[in-house]
């Protein structure tokens, strides 16, 4: 096989892996949008916040130490103990559930029946708040995420592809793990929403708020539930992205990567989020691979958006979205 084709294939495989990471973030958006019609811009910052909390708990940082030091002139920084990863993850999940409850109780309960744009603005405000809170609580310096997922080049893929094509593909082990975990997460979500009582209630709410209310489903509980789920998805995304590129502010920008994925897959479809993520991941890498000599580098900043834009012109509701029917 010619080299170019092999390189392109390698780029495509890496694109698939990157696409899984995008899909992880997009999943959280879809969950909340389906259940409450809120376009949750703060999903990316939630991932950052979850990752910061996880690292903070693991290394035994004292929350708000910078603020306390600034006010009282003390020099606090660490408790002096470290927590095992599992305990830290459980602690972070607890924090995200508490966050979900607070968000429902103090923000969205007061915004019922507002226009979608107001709700969207509220999530942007929430994103700002959470970003500042995360930095003040745990400090803004770049942190290393270490939860025991192996990283570096995958020998297996390298050997396998070398045996097939005579050229070893470079694939990060972390991204293979990310794909596996994303798969498990989706299976878990599907089982939850299909076979449990709460899952059925969740689907009912997603289908029709008023009808769900009238058969006695607590909308508030479902909202807390769905924000908690989104928080857990954010934690998974935060772990993966944090392990890949360090826990820092830029982590919150992955939300911007997930938006075109949503457009492509449709705002209300979980399979859409996965397929959209894969298409964008592959498209982005291949475009960069073929077009870099012609138009220059850093095209991945906008390629996904342009792809989504062109796509929208032909199918405004996305690949798997519900058909939009409008009446006066």
């Amino acid at each position: 096989m010619p080299d170019t084709l092999l390189f392109a294939m390698e780029a495509a495989v890496n694109g698939l892996a990157a696409g899984v990471m995008y899909a992880l973030v997009a999943l959280g958006f879809v969950l909340i949008f389906k259940a409450s019609g809120i376009f949750n811009f703060s999903q990316g910052v939630m991932a950052l916040f979850a990752a910061l909390t996880l690292v903070g708990l693991q290394t035994g940082q004292i929350p708000f130490s910078h603020l306390i030091n600034a006010i009282f002139g003390t020099r606090l920084h660490h408790f002096g103990f470290t927590l095992p990863t599992v305990v830290a993850i459980i602690g972070t999940v607890a924090v995200m559930v508490a966050f979900a409850w607070l968000v429902e109780r103090y923000i969205f309960r007061h915004l019922v029946n507002q226009e979608p744009i107001i709700l969207f603005m509220a999530t942007i405000g929430l994103a700002y708040f959470l970003e500042g809170l995360g930095d003040i609580m745990w400090g803004a310096e770049v942190k290393r995420m270490d939860v025991g997922i192996p990283q570096g080049m995958s020998e297996t893929v390298d050997d396998l592809t070398f045996a097939w094509f005579g050229y070893g593909f470079f694939v990060d082990t972390l991204e293979i793990w990310a794909a596996v975990i994303a798969g498990l997460l989706v299976i878990g979500l599907v089982i939850f929403s299909q076979y449990t009582k709460q899952g059925r209630a969740l689907r009912a709410v997603a289908d029709d708020h008023q009808a769900a209310l009238s058969v006695g489903i607590s909308l508030r509980f479902i909202w807390v539930l769905v924000w908690s789920l989104a928080g857990i998805v954010a934690l998974v995304a935060g772990i993966m992205w944090g392990a890949k590129s360090g826990v820092q502010f830029s982590l919150s920008l992955i939300a911007l990567k997930a938006l075109p994925v949503l457009i492509l897959g449709g705002f209300t479809s979980i399979p859409g989020a996965i397929v959209g993520g894969l298409i964008i991941g592959v498209g982005e890498k291949l475009f960069d691979f073929f077009m870099q000599p012609i138009v220059g580098s850093a095209t991945e900043n906008w390629f996904a958006y342009m792809l989504a834009l062109v796509f929208l012109l032909f199918r405004p509701q996305g690949l798997f979205g519900e058909k939009i029917i409008e009446r006066v």
Partner: protein, 358 residues
């Protein structure tokens, strides 16, 4: 006692249709104008101009523009940062290519260029709406910023990738570049602000504005009663982008002097302008000004308090600042989703009846 309609009789159609039907409003408006043109130039200094007054005026133009698009025509856009960048880079290219061209003319031309780009990126609005459109406008944001940072033609191959504004004079006085004084810069921006606010006010209460509002309230119904949705949406994009382009041109030429696209016109700019519009009040000219004032003065006050008074480190203060901005936005949305102008409207209603409650 002072603020009411009673006794203020209108004797002609023009008087009945004027912008400020209540005398109290009119007097306040002329007093603000007189203060801005006759008092401010004598008291302004470099610090006030750079910290508050210039950004306020420039962001007010941008907020006006975005308010036309979102508040009057109902098309959600997150690309304002990039449209400001178009204005800035158009100014740079035009003024370096034609050094003899008057700066006012250059800024207006830059606005027109931005209007063209805005129409181009407004085309998807004919097919899609709501959040889909918001994401589509993000395409403009990322694509345009990429263009301005990666294609050397736009920044005249300067080795740093920055664009910097040469000194330009208006009526014999330097208004841009290092020699420009605060007064000159202030007056230039002020003239643009007043002219554009006047334009926005009169556009929005004329035929065009009514078309926009019909589209905003319900596009299908508007189409049925004879509003051409294509013309209405694209004209909103054009006018809005013109305003934002002028704001970007002034932001670069007068306020910054030198700029780099991804830093000066990143997505944070889009959000800040959106916040101004929402906090100030959707569909309100006054609201754009209030929102801009609020978001410019707020951070300056916070910084004064935290860094200069309490002596905290700047990065801690910065984190606290974004947290407080976020919390304020949430607070505003919860207590008054229609912005500060809605509060102002309630106060006005109360004032008219004061001191009698009914």
């Amino acid at each position: 006692m002072i603020y009411r309609e009673a006794g203020d009789f209108k004797t002609s159609y023009a008087a009945d249709n004027q912008t400020f039907p209540i005398r109290g409003d009119r007097i306040a408006y002329y007093m603000v104008l007189a203060f801005a043109f006759l008092v401010m130039p004598f008291v302004i200094n470099d610090y006030w101009a750079n910290a508050i007054v210039l950004p306020f005026l420039i962001y007010a133009i941008a907020a006006l523009g975005l308010n036309i698009l979102i508040g009057y025509c109902g098309q959600l856009s997150l690309g304002s940062g990039a449209f400001m960048a178009v204005g800035a880079y158009a100014t740079f290219k035009l003024t370096t290519a034609f050094p003899g061209l008057s700066i006012v003319f250059v800024v207006l031309l830059a606005g027109l260029v931005t209007a063209g780009v805005g129409v181009l990126f407004g085309l998807p609005s004919l097919r899609i709406k709501g959040f889909y459109l918001a994401v589509a406008t993000l395409a403009a944001q990322f694509f345009l910023i990429w263009l301005f940072t990666q294609q050397p033609w736009f920044y005249n191959n300067s080795p740093t990738g920055m664009i910097s504004m040469p000194t330009r004079e208006f009526l014999g006085m330097p208004v841009t570049g290092p020699r420009a004084s605060a007064v000159n810069m202030y007056l230039l921006c002020l003239v643009f602000v007043v002219a554009l606010a006047w334009l926005a006010r009169n556009l929005t209460r004329g035929t065009l504005g009514r078309r926009w509002m019909a589209i905003r309230d319900m596009d299908i119904a508007a189409e049925i009663i004879g509003v051409n949705p294509m013309m209405a949406k694209l004209s909103a994009f054009a006018v809005s982008s013109f305003f934002i382009g002028v704001a970007g041109a002034l932001f670069f030429a007068v306020y910054l002097g030198a700029a780099e696209a991804s830093e000066a016109f990143g997505i944070e700019k889009s959000f800040i302008i959106l916040f101004m519009v929402i906090i100030g009040g959707l569909g309100s000219i006054l609201g754009s000004f209030i929102g801009a004032f609020f978001l410019i003065v707020g951070p300056v006050l916070l910084k004064l308090l935290l860094v200069d008074q309490l002596g905290w480190s700047t990065d801690l203060a910065a984190h606290l600042e974004i947290m407080i901005i976020g919390a304020l936005i949430l607070l505003f949305l919860i207590t008054e989703p229609h912005g500060i102008t809605a509060l102002w409207r309630t106060i006005k209603e109360k004032l008219r009846l004061w001191p009698f409650p009914h």
